[in-house]
Amino acid sequence: MKFIEEFRDGALAKKLAAELKAEATGSYHFMEFCGGHTHALCRYGLMDLLPPTVRMVHGPGCPVCVLPIGRLDQAIELAKKPGVILCTFGDMMRVPGRDRVSLVKARAQGATVKMVFGSGEALKVARENPDKQVVFFAIGFETTTPTTAVAVQQAAKEGLTNLSFFVNHVLTPSAIDAILGSQEAQDGTIRVDGFIGPGHVSTIIGSAPYERFARDAEKPIVVSGFEPIDLLQSILMLVRQRNAGRHEVENQFTRAVVREGNRKAQALVDETFELRKSFEWRGLGTLPDSALKLKAHLAAFDAEVKFELPYTAVADHPACSCGEILRGIKKPTDCRIFGTACTPESPMGSCMVSPEGSCAAYYLYGRHRAPAQPRRTA
């Protein structure tokens, strides 16, 4: 398959690994922001190819993971309302909410929850069910936001009065701010010498929004594709920047990402959404200007306006380390319930549920291998 197989070449990966070994003469801690990258690192065993001095810190770029229990509970409340059909991405279904009630459990108890592949399907459900109130549970980073925008604009154009959107779209730069400004980053609990920038988010926002982190926080950032060759090359680019004392935004994913991003998608997002003053993230806390809501003129499509939805913050299960894992303080295997009380089949926290969650990645790939070699602790 074009654009995939040539970026999975094993011989080339070995050469890149040899190059990394030769050039990584110092010590490096890099954060891959995006959960898709975390999964690629695990799936292809890339961390085993890295020299012991290059350590990957997994970031918070997993939209299912960062959604706090309080917001999920609101979606569950919506689904329980008589006459409401809640349309959700499949990823959200098994995330436990308050008292470990998930959307799956709520559905078993009589709530109407429909799994959809995207916002386009929610439009279809609304057209086919004029006597029901259909709500789309919109989650995601900048990659997904414009797809919700298309559906909102289409609903407005069609005058659909039975479709609304429960908007939980969040912003990547705000999460990077939170990581860099965290107590743990200040006191040295976590160390991040550079970032692998999220490739698909950047198809929309471009690479320009990261320039202030390169300039002000003096961190190199390389926007990367998702295949193994992409990631190894991006890590090599970060090593070279560190070695040369540079801190710039570089783009490894040039086949899909340009500096200015997708202008059409950005314009559509601007027409549809505005910043929320603050938003609670799992693990990162309540962050200012870090999420979006529908603009006032689209209030008729805003589920939070249409339905009464009180928000109650709910703490994570005390045994679950999702919060620390999302901040990069812990690895999934540092959590005491990893793979025992918490598995993808019976998850305690969101990081074990999502196909982009770090815990799910560690559980799916390589949990049966021998105990971590001493070199991995370097």
Binding site: M1, K2, F3, I4, E6, F7, L12, K15, L16, A18, E19, C34, G35, G36, G61, C62, P63, V64, F89, D91, F117, G118, S119, G120, E121, I139, G140, F141, T143, T144, P146, T147, V150, P198, H200, V201, T203, I204, I229, Q233, Q252, T254, R255, A256, V257, N262, R263, K264, A265, L268, S354, P355, E356
Partner: protein
């Protein structure tokens, strides 16, 4: 959620829809987020929407740079 795959545009339809193919599997997706798209283009598909076109020249360039590394290493 941010997972996306490259697929080739096989046909364009009304209503900003296109049929794309990946490894023999066909799917109808929205191309509402793209400025221009033609049959034969490769696009990155996410939750039923094409996010951007893939640039084959840039893909070749990335691989060519790695090829140079390959020569240097061998």
């Amino acid at each position: 959620m941010c997972l996306a795959l490259p697929a080739r545009v096989k046909a364009l339809h009304d209503g900003q829809l296109a049929t794309v193919e990946l490894g023999g599997v066909r799917q109808k997706v929205s191309v509402a987020l793209l400025e221009h798209v033609n049959v034969g283009d490769y696009v990155v598909v996410h939750v039923g929407y094409a996010l951007t076109k893939l640039d084959p020249v840039e893909a070749e360039r990335t691989l060519a740079e790695l090829g140079r590394l390959e020569e240097a290493a061998s």
